[in-house]
Structure formats: structure tokens, C-alpha cells
């Protein structure tokens, strides 16, 4: 796992989804971030940088 998600902090705003260049993420039916396809992740860190809720981190 290169992405670590704190679901309790996530408010499902969708910013990480919109800024992910590789469509790794989606907002689930319960309005939380979910990983669609981690194999595409290039660890660019856009999700971590833009998340206002400290809910997603890229593990180096």
C-alpha cells in the first residue's frame, strides 16, 4: 500500500479525486474517498498536498 487513508477524517469533498492525474481515487457512495486502482499511483503527492482534512497520505 502506498496510499494511507484516514476514513474518519475524510469528508468526501472530492479534491483528491479531481487532482489525481492517474484516476486512482473515487468518492464512494458513503461520501468517502476510495482507491479504485492503486497500481496506477505514481506517488506524485497531489492528493496529500491538497487534502484539506489530512485524510490521505502517500507513503514513501
Amino acid at each position: 500500500m502506498s496510499l494511507k487513508i484516514h476514513l474518519n477524517r475524510c469528508k468526501g469533498c472530492g479534491i483528491c479525486v479531481a487532482f489525481c492525474p492517474k484516476q486512482v481515487l473515487a468518492v464512494s457512495e458513503v461520501e468517502k474517498v476510495e482507491i479504485v486502482d492503486e497500481s496506477k499511483c505514481i506517488k506524485c503527492g497531489q492528493c496529500e498536498l491538497r487534502c484539506p482534512d489530512y485524510a490521505i497520505f502517500v507513503e514513501k
Binding site: 487532482f19 498536498l49 484539506p52 489530512y54 497520505f57
Partner: protein, 275 residues
């Protein structure tokens, strides 16, 4: 330190999730503050964070420093008392557009005038968010708010120009999209000896965005990306573009102005010397 470690290090345990709405830019800005403090390797014990009242001002409660959630508009007087009474403390003021430029406007210009060493991070979401979306002195003219249903006819403050004219010696602007720049400017502002203000254009999707049809959280962040232009590039824009975009980065800095608490130490030395 990784971002996750930074959050664990500088946020108070058990205080997250924060109260801000989905997509609110304030979380990003608050993250930038802790990154700046970490960059400067300051001890948590020597940092005081003082806020007023409003959405932005809730940041103080999450941060593991010496923190004050003061009264509406009054962060700067309280911060002034802290800094003057104990100049060893690094003082950061967290405030919003309404808190700093409406009810606290008088304190803002006078803290700038004194050039007292503190760093104001002004989270500008262009609205009174906590009370449900009324216009502030920094709501752009013609924008809608619950108290300006036909669009506000009031001209908005350019807070950077305001505090510069009042005597601030470090003035900068960034956005919650330009997170790395924001961190860098806050760190520089803290390192600067004197009154520094960093306006950070933040996003309020719940109220300002909705009332002004700006789309969702990601759209508002993209708007920041497309409208905040680094100073050098901004200067080269057409007059038309200058009206709809705004300059970001370090806008103004003076390094040789007398800082207030240092001046006071000199005054004490003179008074004790019988002068």
C-alpha cells in the same frame, strides 16, 4: 518528516476531524502553518497561536502550541500583549477576512503601524462562513452573499495594500491551491523580524461557492490555480486580465524598519539609565 508525521507532531491528539466543511480550504492553510513551523525547527513551547472568532479562528484549537481562541476581531490586541510581555515567544495570528478587516480592522492597521514582530495568516474565504454566508469587507464587489442577495455594492479591501500603507514590513499573498508557496511564505513571514501578513485565498464551497455558482471544492481550487498569478507574471498581464486575476507571492518587504518589542527594550534601557 512526512505530512502524516507532521500532523501527529503538531496537531493535538484526538482533535481531528476538524469542524470545517467538506472542501473548505482552511485545512490546507492550517497544514501549511505546521509545515512552516517545522521548516523553521521551532519548539512547540515557544510558539503562541492566537485567533479571533470565525471559521479560520477554529484552527488554534487543533494546534499543539500555546493557543488562544480569543474574541471576534481581537486576536491582534491579545497577540500584542503576549508578544510585548514575552518577546521570546513566536506569535502567529490566525484570522479571517471578516475578523481581521471588519470588526478587527482598527487593530490590524495599528499592529502593522507598530511593526510588532508577529505573523498574521489571514484566511480569506471572502465570506462570513460561521454565521452562514454574509458579505465581508473582502467579499468582491458584486458577489452575492446572504446579506447581499442582489450582489454587494461595497468595494472590497485589498488587505495587502491596506497593511502595507499602515506600516507592515512583510506582505504576501497565496492561495490554498498554492500550498507549497503558502508554506514558504508563512515560514519567511515568521522568520521576518516585524509585522508580517500573509493573505491566503481560501475556498468556502458551502456558502461563498454555492451562492456565487463557483462549482464544487475542486472547481474552487482550480479557480485559485487559474486566477492567482505570481507577481512577476502578473505585472505582464493585460489591464483586462489584471482585473480578474490577482498577484501572489511576496508582495512587499522591508528589512531595516525598527521592530516594536526591540524598540521597547531600548526604551527600558534608557529609562533605567535615567534618560
Amino acid at each position: 518528516m512526512s505530512m502524516e508525521e507532521l500532523i501527529d507532531q503538531y496537531f493535538r491528539p484526538g482533535r481531528l476531524p476538524h469542524i470545517w466543511c467538506p472542501g473548505c480550504g482552511h485545512g490546507v492553510v492550517t497544514g501549511c502553518i505546521v509545515k512552516a513551523v517545522d521548516k523553521l525547527a521551532l519548539s512547540k513551547d515557544e510558539v503562541a497561536v492566537v485567533s479571533g472568532i470565525g471559521c479560520s479562528s477554529r484552527a488554534s484549537g487543533y494546534l499543539d502550541f500555546n493557543t488562544v481562541h480569543s474574541a471576534h476581531g481581537r486576536a491582534l490586541p491579545v497577540a500584542t500583549g503576549i508578544k510585548l510581555a514575552d518577546p521570546k515567544l513566536t506569535v502567529i495570528v490566525v484570522t479571517g477576512d471578516g475578523d481581521a478587516t471588519a470588526i478587527g480592522g482598527n487593530h490590524l492597521i495599528h499592529a502593522a503601524r507598530r511593526n510588532i514582530d508577529m505573523t498574521v495568516v489571514l484566511y480569506n474565504n471572502s465570506i462570513y462562513g460561521m454565521t452562514g454566508g454574509q458579505y465581508s469587507p473582502m467579499t468582491p464587489v458584486h458577489a452575492k452573499a446572504t446579506t447581499a442577495p442582489y450582489g454587494t455594492i461595497e468595494r472590497d479591501f485589498n488587505v495587502a495594500e491596506l497593511v502595507k500603507a499602515a506600516g507592515a514590513t512583510f506582505v504576501a499573498r497565496s492561495t490554498s491551491f498554492h500550498a507549497q508557496m503558502t508554506t514558504d511564505l508563512i515560514a519567511k513571514g515568521i522568520a521576518h523580524k516585524g509585522f508580517s501578513l500573509i493573505e491566503v485565498v481560501s475556498a468556502c464551497p458551502t456558502s461563498y461557492g454555492r451562492q456565487n455558482k463557483m462549482g464544487g471544492p475542486a472547481d474552487m481550487m482550480k479557480w485559485q490555480r487559474d486566477h492567482g498569478v505570481p507577481m512577476v507574471a502578473y505585472e505582464k498581464l493585460s489591464a483586462e486580465d489584471k482585473l480578474i486575476k490577482f498577484p501572489i507571492g511576496l508582495l512587499y518587504e522591508v528589512t531595516d524598519a525598527q521592530e516594536y518589542t526591540e524598540a521597547y527594550e531600548a526604551l527600558i534601557a534608557a529609562a533605567k539609565g535615567g534618560k
